[in-house]
């Protein structure tokens, strides 16, 4: 079974790499298999990791004390109304609950973690060149994103400095992305040449 698994993985990998020549039926087949398998994976994972432990098992084991779980269960089932032309407006009820929860959590979590904590980390004593560059860089980047004032004169100059900081951040992010993709490629090559063809020791 292990050998069959390696052959299957290797052949599907080659199907994907056939795209390097040009778009072809083998690549399309592997691509569709990937989408189908991934969708099926998430369905089973959601059933076993979310619905069974949080809804079905508690209701089955202790319905008397956990009957209130029928509320999220009912709201969840209302999602199926999305496929009804006449009753699809009922989808708004579960959606509004999820959106409201998400919005409420976003307000508090983002303000504390992504605004207050980041501002706190930036408010450094300006006693070294690096601290000045860091605090000035954050300020300049924020000025670039501030569209209520026209980017002219002093504001324009600071916004231009903000663009330089952004370019460096994007360059670093792009560099890491390239390295991540290449390390994945190395992993695939090790699998093909080592596990499959046994050419690597």
């Amino acid at each position: 079974m292990a050998v069959f698994g390696i052959w299957l993985g290797a052949l599907l990998t080659l199907c994907i790499y056939s795209f390097l020549y040009r778009d072809n039926p083998l690549y399309k087949f592997a691509e569709h298999v990937y989408v189908g398998i991934s969708a099926g994976y998430f369905v089973a994972a959601e059933v076993h990791n979310v619905l069974l432990p949080n809804l079905i098992a508690p209701l089955r084991s202790d319905f008397g004390h956990r009957f209130y779980l029928l509320v999220p269960g009912l709201l969840g089932v209302m999602v199926f109304f999305a496929f009804s032309r006449r009753l699809n407006w009922l989808l708004r009820y579960p959606l509004s609950f999820v959106v409201g929860m998400g919005a409420g959590l976003t307000v508090t979590a983002m303000l504390s973690a992504d605004v207050m904590a980041q501002v706190q980390a930036t408010a450094l004593p300006l006693n070294s060149v690096n601290n000045v560059l860091l605090a000035g860089g954050v300020l300049a980047t924020l000025v670039y994103f501030f569209f209520s004032a026209e980017h002219k004169g002093a504001v324009g100059g600071v916004a231009a400095a903000g663009v330089w900081y952004l370019m460096i951040a994007f360059g670093a992010a792009f560099g890491y992305t390239v390295m991540a993709r290449i390390s994945l490629l190395i992993g695939r090559m090790q699998f093909l040449l080592g596990d499959w063809l046994h050419l690597l020791r």
């Binding site: 369905v43 999220p72 269960g73 999602v79 509004s96 609950f97 605090a135 670093a172």
Partner: protein, 220 residues
């Protein structure tokens, strides 16, 4: 009725989450946690929407024998098999579901994303052409990170005549500085800006100003 009640639900659910953040009473904290559990359950059900859409599109292709119907049939078969096997026999290690993940999904995922390594080279050429000051900064930052963060970079640097001998750790230090100072400043600015945008959007939703998520179905 069709829009007013959902707007009230959105407002109350969001308001309760904000109140729970500031009120440390166990009763409030526990009920807020309970509500987050409910949200997870409802979100799990919403997966049906995505899967339903996928099935609708590909089933239509198979039924109408449209070009590429065979691939759509393969997609639907894989979806059904994986979902059924996982749901009926479990998702633990040693199951068929786990075997399919290990030998089909993981290799396909790694191969698909590694394919980008080839195309990213041409993208890099287009992005990194030093046409102006900004593009030059992008190029320099990416080159410093790519060379400085792999073992080959410092090894090559040490072999450079004079520079490598006098400052053997200069490349490491430069890479670390780029990451710690200008990159952190840029990322932090983006993070603060994005968070402020997200908070303002969340407030618009809670107050019923932003209603685009209620466009499903008719009614008022």
């Amino acid at each position: 009725m069709k829009k007013t009640v959902p707007l009230i639900i959105t407002f109350l659910a969001g308001l309760y989450m904000i109140v729970a953040y500031f009120v440390p009473h166990p009763a409030v904290a526990n009920s807020a946690q309970q509500m987050q559990g409910w949200e997870i359950i409802i979100v799990a059900f919403t997966l049906v929407l995505g899967i339903g859409n996928l099935v609708q599109v590909h089933y239509g292709k198979v039924r109408g024998r449209r070009p590429g119907w065979f691939h759509s049939a393969a997609l639907l078969a894989c979806l059904a098999v994986m979902a059924a096997i996982g749901t009926v026999w479990g998702v633990a290690e040693g199951t068929v579901y786990y075997w399919l993940y290990d030998n089909v999904m993981a290799p396909l995922s790694a191969a698909m994303f590694s394919l980008l390594a080839f195309f990213i080279a041409s993208a890099a050429y287009r992005a990194f052409r030093a046409r102006n000051k900004e593009a030059t900064l992008l190029l320099l930052a990416a080159v410093v990170i790519m060379i400085g963060r792999v073992p080959l970079g410092p090894w090559l640097w040490a072999k450079l005549p004079w520079v490598g001998g006098h400052w053997p750790h200069a490349l490491d230090q430069l890479t670390q500085w780029v990451m710690d100072v200008p990159n952190t400043a840029g990322q932090r600015g983006i993070k603060i800006g994005a968070a402020l945008g997200a908070v303002s959007m969340a407030l618009r939703m809670l107050l019923g100003i932003e209603r685009s998520y209620l466009t499903t179905g008719g009614g008022s």
